[in-house]
């Protein structure tokens, strides 16, 4: 890492010459990957990333430059190029500005690690892969192929800016990915599933991951054998846990300040108005311990916080980073995030969830003549109109779960669908998490909920 004095000198120089807010994001990241196939270690890879991103903001102009040459001449070149661009987009009179950094501290422990990953050694990591492989082979599911990969990431970041802020954060996570093809001569289904811990490997104490992967395989085979669902409109029950990705796609992206500022949201100008059923309270919270979307600071050096976005159906706030928050007249609320130094930060989600209600989960199904129960959603896309692929779904008939169905795609306009929530269960379940991809790259997120019911949704699928 660079010295504090070198960073202060760089920020003083750019802030003075550019008459601009200046921010330096410095990153050092170590990653390891082990691939296990055919009951043997098939590959081992390591990656070391190091680089810096410099951002200058003046009025409504934003300049972002980055390099992995973090030598003094490399950073000097970076600063000169950033200032040259700033001159082109809008000149200003330079002024003296000396930056003195003051480190800010937050609560430790969002990414717990009892022992350094390097100290644990490969034997324990290989044991995890062997345990998963053995569990997969004994799951009683016809498998055409499979493999398991272990990943670990140890990212250290420093974020410093010309207002004197210095924030240091360390984000550690370990992950196992199972990829598999279940099936036989009559058909096959390829999928992958991740078990993620935002923590060191030493937290993998229970055998929760074994049960997780075995359940994935069993339900994948059930889905392969399922009949396609006839497309149409019907009520949809979304199970507690990871089906909370509904909220990520149907309103999370359009509550990001970047979407509001660019005019691509149905929530523009609707603060303190009703935008959803009164049963809906949506929170985004980057401070929750043990969840994949948590960290001490965001990637602009702001402490993460709990943000209530919608309360009992009323829109309360947006997810704000520095630039887009100011464009809509709001301060950052700790939501400026980026994948790494190669991306400028923007407003992003972290752990987004629907707060628990008080409805009976069994009644939600029992009271339906026909409907769809979704227990797992695949990926999706957000925006005013969203889509979500159902990876595990069951047809409900006469208040009973009738049979598994496949090839269902949920689509809708978020602001309309949220008004159709007619039940919210009392029991919330979290999830392991995944990546969300957007203009500042892939960032770790979770999305979860209690069981909910939507009175009607459009379901696309095969004829």
């Amino acid at each position: 890492m660079l010295t504090i004095a070198a960073i202060e000198a760089l920020l003083s120089d750019t802030a003075s010459r550019g008459h601009a807010f200046s921010e330096l994001f410095v990153e050092d990241k170590a990653e390891r990957e082990l691939n296990y196939e055919k009951q043997a270690l098939a590959g081992a890879q390591t990656m070391h990333s190091r680089g810096a991103g410099l951002r200058l903001i003046r009025d409504h102009h934003v300049i972002y430059t980055y390099t992995n040459d973090v030598s003094e001449p490399g950073l000097k070149q970076l600063a000169d190029q950033a200032l040259a661009l700033l001159q082109i987009v809008g000149s200003a009179t330079p002024s003296d500005q000396a930056v003195t950094l003051q480190e800010i501290h937050g609560k430790a422990g969002s990414n717990p690690m009892q022992r350094e990953l390097a100290e644990i050694g490969n034997r324990r990591k290989l044991d995890v892969l062997r345990e998963i492989d053995a569990a997969v082979r004994s799951a009683g599911v016809p498998l055409l192929s499979h493999g398991v990969t272990y990943y670990e990431t140890d990212q250290r970041v420093w974020i410093a800016n010309s207002e004197g802020t210095l924030a240091k954060d360390r984000r550690v996570n370990t992950r196992a990915r199972l990829h598999y093809t279940v099936g036989d001569t009559e058909g096959a289904l390829y999928e992958w599933a991740d078990f993620i811990q935002p923590a060191g490997l030493d937290t993998w104490q229970s055998e929760e991951y074994i049960a997780f992967f075995q359940n994935q395989l069993k339900t994948a085979y059930e889905t392969l054998r399922a009949e396609p669902l006839k497309p149409g409109r019907m009520p949809v029950v979304l199970a507690a846990g990871s089906c909370g990705v509904l909220w990520h796609e149907c309103c999370g992206h359009t509550l990001e300040a970047a979407a509001i500022a660019s005019g691509h949201s149905d929530f523009i100008g609707k603060r303190d108005t009703v935008v959803a059923s009164p049963k809906v309270t949506i929170v985004d919270d980057g401070t929750l311990p043990g969840l994949y979307g948590s960290s001490c600071f965001d990637d602009e050096g702001k402490l993460r916080q709990r943000n209530v976005l919608i309360e009992k159906g009323v829109l309360k706030g947006y997810l704000c980073d520095r630039v887009h928050g100011r464009q809509i007249g709001l301060e950052s609320n700790g939501c400026g995030r980026r994948q790494d130094y190669t991306f400028a930060p923007t407003s992003r989600m972290s752990n987004t969830y629907l707060a628990p209600g008080c409805d009976d989960e069994e009644e939600m199904i029992r009271s339906l003549g026909e409907g769809l129960l979704v227990t797992q959603l695949g990926g999706g896309s957000g925006g005013p109109i969203f889509s979500l692929a159902c990876s595990r779904a069951y047809l409900i008939k006469n208040g009973q779960i009738d049979r598994p169905v496949k090839n269902c795609m949920l689509t809708g306009r978020g602001i309309d669908v949220m008004k159709k929530i007619d039940r919210v269960g009392a029991n919330i379940k979290t999830e392991y998490g995944s990546f969300c991809g957007a203009s500042s790259g892939l960032v770790p997120t979770t999305a979860f909920q209690p069981q909910v019911r939507i009175s009607e949704m459009i379901i696309g699928g095969e004829a």
Binding site: T46, L85, T411
Partner: protein, 433 residues
């Protein structure tokens, strides 16, 4: 000494060492400027070099670094140590004893990018424009005498209008086709101007816009990824030489596509990029290969070894396209709509990374469409889903548009696809009523 020169010197000293000791350096320099309505809003410039090593005496391991000041020995020994960890013997194929070098390119003065943005703002005053200049460099050096380097520049313009991106690329600023962007925006304006309407489910003849066809191929090119065929799988296995699509369909991957950007003379294994005919007049003719897939399937590499495919980024090389192009036809989009007569013009689709199964080609694609009556636009229908299989779509092509929609891979910028609009005889649509 440059980074490459340090690795060259180290690997020269390793000549004769058994096994494989190889480094692939990938460099990217880029500048971007975003402007709208006479003012500039954002600008960026970046430089990045990533070094990928594969090394080992009896088995190959991998290591990647961005720490350019590290000694070459450190990276190569780390890769070799990773290889030893697997304990599996076996060498990977590699290129040997070839030397070639192109002159390194440099980014232009940013004032030139600003001038280009000014030209664009005059022509497309309603759009948010992002002008980009990018230089991508590739070098591969090994102890067996391979020492190759290429450096290519391209310019790209993205015009964002009403949330829709329209993109064109060119090797030089004066070759940017502004008129094509203007026409594409006008077409979209006509679609969005239509009054809202409802559409019932069913099977309909349709025109799929170039934007929708490109969204299919940004994922579905993987049906032609040779890696899928190594284990005996692959949807197109045993279909080589047979008719898999309408005779109007020709699909190609082109490393140097004249007049457009994304030139890639070398791949990440140091092989020459080749023009690959994947489907010629509807007949299945080829797959995309790396050295490894070619060795496994008894074929020749096509120079398609890369590091990023879809949302996957690899330490090892994986199969990636360069410029994946569906050849255009003769008709304007309006002529295609006239030929369609009654049906749907599907002009927008989204969620291409989840809506299409890249192994089978099956898709459930959320989309928006315009109803066509007597060859004219009538009503705008949102929240539809089209479903089927991409091979069925290609088999039902009856006519193709004469303009290509270009779409680079988002976030990674490592390849692009381009496709024309297609008139197809039938597609299943889940309606909005």
């Amino acid at each position: 000494m440059t980074v490459k020169e340090r690795y060259e010197a180290y690997l020269r000293a390793c000549a004769g060492r058994p096994g494989l000791w190889e480094v692939n350096g990938e460099t990217r320099e880029r500048q971007r400027l975003t402007a709208q309505g006479g003012t500039y809003s954002q600008a960026s410039v970046d430089h990045q070099t990533v070094l990928y090593a594969r090394a080992g005496e009896t088995s190959v391991g991998y290591a990647v670094t961005q720490c350019l000041e590290d000694e070459p020995e450190k990276l190569l020994e780390e890769a070799a140590e990773n290889g030893r960890l697997t304990g599996q013997a076996g060498m990977e194929p590699c290129q040997e004893a070839r030397v070639s070098e192109e002159e390194k390119q440099r980014l232009s003065n940013p004032v030139m990018i600003a001038d280009l943005a000014r030209q664009g703002m005059k022509r497309l005053p309603e759009a948010e424009l992002t002008i980009e200049e990018q230089i991508r460099g590739q070098w591969v050096v090994n102890q067996k005498g391979l020492n190759r380097q290429s450096s290519r520049r391209h310019f790209a313009v993205q015009a964002q209008w009403k949330g829709y991106p329209f993109i064109t690329s060119a090797p030089a600023p004066e070759q940017i086709e502004w008129a094509g962007l203007q026409e594409a925006i006008e077409q979209m304006r006509k679609n969005l101007e239509q009054p809202s309407s409802m559409q019932s489910s069913g099977v309909y003849p349709a025109v799929l816009s170039g934007y929708v066809m490109a969204k299919f191929f940004i994922t579905a090119w993987k049906l032609w990824d040779a890696r899928s065929y190594v284990g005996g799988g692959g949807v197109l296995r045993e279909r080589g030489g047979t008719q898999i699509a309408s005779s109007l369909v020709t699909l190609r991957d082109i490393p140097v596509w004249l007049g457009h950007g994304y030139e890639a003379v070398l791949d990440s294994e140091g092989s020459d990029g080749l023009v690959v005919d994947l489907v010629k007049q509807g007949v299945q003719t080829g797959l995309l290969h790396t050295l490894q897939t070619a060795a496994a399937l008894g074929a020749q590499t096509t120079g398609n070894a890369g590091r990023t495919a879809g949302l996957v980024k690899g330490y090892r090389t994986i199969v990636t396209p360069k410029n994946w192009v569906m050849e255009p036809g003769q008709n304007t989009e309006e002529e295609l709509l006239a030929q369609l007569g009654e049906g749907l013009y599907i002009f927008d689709a989204f969620d291409e990374f989840h809506a299409i199964n890249p192994a089978s080609g099956d898709f459930n694609f959320p989309c928006n469409a315009v109803q066509i009556r007597r060859g004219k636009r009538q009503g705008l229908c949102r929240q539809l889903t089209i479903s089927g299989n991409i091979l069925q779509v290609l088999a039902s092509v009856e006519a193709l548009g004469n303009r290509l929609y270009e779409m680079p891979l988002i976030m990674q910028d490592t390849y692009q696809v381009a496709a024309p609009a297609a008139l197809i005889s039938a597609i299943h649509v889940t309606g909005s009523v």
